[in-house]
Amino acid sequence: MKFELYKIFCRRTTVVILVMFFLLSGVFMMQSFTDSSERLAYVSNEGLRQTHIYWARWDNYNTMSVIEATGNLGELPYGGWLFPRERWIPFQADVDSPIIQRIVDMYRQVEIPDDAMSYTDVWWHIFNQGGNFILWLFGLSFIVIIGVAPVFAEERSTGVDKIILTSKHGKNKLIANKIIASLLFATVIYLAYFTLITIPRLLRFNVDLQQVMQVNFAPFSQSPYSYLMSEFLIRYFAVGLLSYLLLCMMGLTISALSRNPFIAIIPSLGLFFVTLFDIRFISVGLHRFFTLFPANSIGQTDVWHVPDFYNIFGLLIDRPTMTVIFSAVSICVLAASCVLITKRMEASN
């Protein structure tokens, strides 16, 4: 196992992009750290606070009314990362449908506390600083893909597989170690990044996580979720981690199919990018299917738009047990695919 981890972490390409990523993101984090401090000063501005609360409540009421009356979710952000806003198509749903009823109920239950513009604004700024956070998450996805793409393919391209497959432990231990090492790799780098963006701020701003509501997180109150900040962070971490593990397994499966590490990267990146396109104007069904992919679930920083109820991830976010089951099943299915593919493939020539 330690050797498989060593192979992934100590590959020159991986080391270079990891160092670059954490250096650059660290610099940007420091920048936003300063900005956040400035925003913290607004908290004491009573006028700003009242304005913020007013607009948040108004937006919450307005959104709820529109959905209740028309079932139209089209005015809200809707999944997909590339071209999501330019391509908005009003999405009409049956007002009596259980899902609309459920969304409206959730909006009704949203509480916008009197101290709405407190530390929340700082956190909002951290996660939504001009899309940087999303970009960094995508950067992290590339690292996962580049890190795991050679895991199986490299053995074949270098010919080491012939040595490995004639050794005592052979395929079984090899495959298990590679899968576990790759999942650990994805976990470690995600954990490192999540720690980098949260812990310094928790220490610096001394945010009371039980007081800050996630509802203020989204631009005004378009989100029907009403989590405490602590709940939000835990859920966001869990969803993000599961997404990266799923992405890791997708990359590994492609690597198992490929005989060349570089060629393994191309379809992995292709699959990653294609699912980012908002293609509702072509096929709503296909678009919903694409929103199931990790690239989209980790990109939902605005945070979890209403139409996400229409995809499995949206529903799962609201149901953590199902989230875990769905992702675990997906990961297991992909792991089983890796095992089958690798076992069936003959050693390289």
């Binding site: 060593y6 590959r11 053995e155 270098t158 012939k162 040595i163 005592k168 432990h169 090899l174």
Partner: protein, 297 residues
Amino acid sequence: MELKIQNVTKKYKDLVAVNAFDGTLTPGIYGLLGPNGAGKTTLLRVVCALTRPTEGKVLYGNMEIEKLGAEYRKVLGFMPQNFGYYPHFKTERYLEYIASIKGLNPHYAKNKISSLLELVGLTEKRKSKVGHLSGGMRQRLGIAQALLNDPDVLILDEPTAGLDPEERVKFRNLISTISQEKITILSTHIITDVAYIASDILLMKEGHLTFRGSVDALIGMVQGKVWSTTVESCEIGGITKNYIVSNVQNTADQTELRIISGDKPTNDAVQVEPTLEDAYLFYTGEIGTAGGPENEI
């Protein structure tokens, strides 16, 4: 300890890479000779259980190697052609990695690695990255990894390819040293690699085993069939069309040819003592070919 290769045939679609290969191997060094494409590597892949034969089976201790699985791999050491490595691994770490997948006890592996590095002359390079080693050093590292589990069956596929003559001599001596009490199959198309150390020669051509026996027996097969003759340059073309020519040597105004033939090729041809190379060409060469790079010595 016996390795029985029973009527093994391996086909790739219409291509028959190995055709009804049959033989029993006991401890000793076997030189597997044959031109490129003769099926040597495919046979070794079958023996290493890297690929299943289309027909026939390989038995170790009267059990099929497929059924033995890990038990067979436990006693197997394999150095493949184009030996693969991780360039960013240090020599010692690479061996530790192979030792771990061979299921060796870490403490035992550590001692074994030290002794093997010493045996193959890489002790000073234990902290060097594999990618920075010379071709010869890497081949020696390949031998070391194959020996980690102290195998009873040692398969070396073209281990001397790309080495300079001095390295090849060293390598040969090394193989001779380590192969005692093992079934060692040394595949090569470089004849001198096996001439000095092999107890038996297995000669393959177009997937068939065309000869099996000692080096002397192989040479004996062409006794009286090797000729030396001196001809004018303009006659060379005619002779090479009709005979197997194992050597062409130009002198000042004439050319000396070494010809393998059952009949006297020219009136002034004289019989000469055959070499292993002559015997090899007799079995594998085709009329119309002169001894060329393929039969490099």
